[in-house]
């Protein structure tokens, strides 16, 4: 156990706690619609906070722990692959953009599912969306909790259960009492920590390795493949690497935790600023964090477990107090993902299921109590699951990322820009996307040398278009109503 490492980490946790607590003040004072305030921060995010909350929510344990670990093994080819994520910095906000912001206000949408409800007017679309969000994101969230607790465990020497408890407590309190605004504000702090931690570690590692030319030379002497785009064994084909442009690049448009942020900003000026800041921050973190993994190899050769590369190299090249500061970065990445997922799952239960279908006439006071209650309950549930993660949960988590993308991308994007899209198209697109993804992922991984998410995205697109056209005549009324809302008539 290393006290000098633990103190900065604890200070970080306390800081996050305070920011979340302060943010919850505005929730209590606000007179606006409670649901919009709690789950969307009253649509008042500015550019900087918006950019940070998008980046931090998206950048999870994999960017800070898993990714650098693989880069350590594969070399520069994996950094190339990771750079396919720069596109997320601008693509999501540019594609959804102003139309999504305007339409979600017209529909009074607080969640992604609300948006789909407004656009397609279909109970089945809403329920499918809500159920996919609850199942997939709940398991994704539990996996991140396990990651967070393991990280605390390995850094501090506390037992896994104590570490998990500490982690759960620090996230739960601010999410439950502060809602979206607390999540977004803490995300901003966490994003800054992630950015700063990456910078400090990169500089320290280049100095420790004797400069970039020396490091590259050593890598190439060990295995020349490490400095090619093809990976240590030469197994990273251009097709495979390029297919990550879909998984972690453009299809991120379909991830609900990212999409919901595209309805939370205040003005088009905020969006413009967020485009620039977001691109800079996401590119900087992805490039440098994965480079750190590669550069760590000559300095600390022979690390067997990829997930340990980042903590070990930080402890190796930095004085321990500074290592503590830097290791707050992966902590921040995990927390900022987990808090957003928790709130999103809660909003899906409260707004999409309860208020929509179980009790539409619930009093505001009841909705309020329920929101706090469900969020806490979900938190406790995840905690219990993470104590001893069931196999089903681990299995589901494998599908979470790609599954959500394949489910949501076309109903959202085509719903925005294609007038003829209708509820039958959306529903079949969701079904085809999620089913083909699970089948392909399970039985035919990397079809045609591509990541398993690519085909389901193409198939769900085809399903959307074909079924929408085929059922055109059955939905004439909905079509007219939709054109009315969009103001095209």
């Amino acid at each position: 156990m290393n006290v000098a490492v633990i103190v900065p980490l604890l200070i970080f946790l306390v800081l996050i706690f305070l920011v979340g607590f302060i943010a919850s003040g505005s929730l209590r004072k606000s007179n606006n619609d409670f649901l919009e305030e709690y789950f969307l921060g009253g649509r008042e995010l500015g550019g900087f906070i918006l950019a940070m909350t998008m980046t931090a929510t998206y950048g999870s344990a994999s960017s800070f722990i898993g990714g650098p670990g693989v880069a350590y093994t594969e070399g520069l080819g994996w950094v190339l692959l990771a750079m396919s994520q720069v596109v997320t910095g601008y693509f999501v906000l540019m594609i959804l953009g102003k139309k999504f912001a305007i339409m979600s206000r017209r529909y009074n949408a607080v969640t992604l599912t609300d948006y789909l409800k407004g656009r397609y007017q279909s109970k089945w679309v809403v329920l499918t969306a809500a159920v996919s969000i609850i199942i997939f994101l709940f398991s994704a969230m539990a996996a991140q909790w396990v990651g967070g607790a393991r990280l605390i465990e390995s850094l501090t020497g506390l037992s896994y259960h104590t570490a998990l408890f500490l982690f759960a407590l620090s996230v739960l309190v601010y999410v439950v009492i502060g809602g979206f605004r607390a999540v977004a504000l803490t995300d901003a702090v966490q994003g800054v920590v992630m950015f700063g931690g990456t910078l400090i570690l990169l500089v320290a590692i280049i100095i420790a390795g004797g400069g970039i030319p020396a490091i590259i030379q050593e890598l190439s002497a060990e295995n020349p493949n490490l400095i090619t785009p093809f990976g240590a064994e030469g197994s990273l084909t251009p097709t495979y690497v390029s297919s990550f442009w879909i998984l972690v690049g453009v299809a991120v448009v379909g991830l609900p935790q990212v999409t919901v942020r595209a309805m939370s900003y205040k003005s088009s000026q905020a969006m413009h600023r967020a485009l620039i800041i977001g691109t800079v921050v996401v590119g900087f973190i992805m490039l440098n964090m994965h480079l750190i993994g590669v550069f760590a190899r000559p300095i600390l050769p022979g690390i067997e477990v990829g997930d340990k590369v980042m903590p070990l190299i930080a402890l190796e090249v930095l004085p321990s107090w500074l290592a503590g500061v830097v290791l707050a970065a992966p902590m921040a990445a995990i927390m900022s993902t987990v808090d957003s997922l928790l709130l999103l799952v809660s909003s899906s239960v409260v707004k999409d299921v309860y208020v929509n279908y179980i009790k539409p006439d619930a009093s505001p006071q009841r909705v309020k109590t329920l929101s706090f209650g469900v969020t806490s309950l979900l938190g406790v549930l995840v905690f219990l699951m993470a104590l001893n993660p069931p196999d089903l949960l681990i299995w589901l988590n494998l599908f979470a990322f790609g599954g959500l993308e394949a489910t949501f991308i076309w109903p959202i994007v085509m719903g925005l820009y294609w007038k003829k899209g209708n509820k039958y198209g959306a529903l079949s697109s969701m079904a085809v996307g999620v089913i083909t993804y699970i089948v392909i992922q399970q039985f035919f991984p990397t079809p045609f040398g591509m990541h398993s998410v690519v085909l389901p995205i193409i198939l769900s697109f085809a399903a959307y278009v074909i079924v929408s056209l085929a059922t055109q005549n059955m939905t004439l009324e909905e079509y007219a109503a939709q054109q009315q809302i969009e103001g095209n008539i």
Binding site: S84, H272, T279
Partner: protein, 94 residues
């Protein structure tokens, strides 16, 4: 179809979405072209820039800086500010 009442903001939004797609295509072509164009030869023939292999330097480092520059230019000169609030008539929570 779209009469003269069509919301002018949606015309702007459509154009900006197309700009987003164009940027992503440029980003991909640059990234792919330099990585596999310069990186496919045997490592002993590599050129190096600032210590990094040239393919990596141009594809990932310069490519990233280029995209940031393009995003800044596009946002400053082609993106248009529009109000999100409805003028009147339509019910709106905030």
């Amino acid at each position: 179809m779209s009469g003269k009442n069509k919301d002018y903001r949606f015309t702007i939004a459509n154009r900006e979405a197309l700009i987003g797609i164009t940027l992503a295509v440029i980003n991909f072509v640059w990234w792919y072209g330099f990585a596999y164009g310069l990186g496919s030869k045997p490592p002993e023939n590599y050129h190096f820039v600032l210590g990094l292999p040239a393919w990596f330097f141009y594809s990932c480092v310069v490519g990233f800086i280029l995209i940031v520059a393009l995003v800044i230019v596009v946002v400053k000169f082609f993106f248009v500010d529009v109000p999100f609030e409805e003028e009147e008539g339509r019910g709106n929570g905030s």
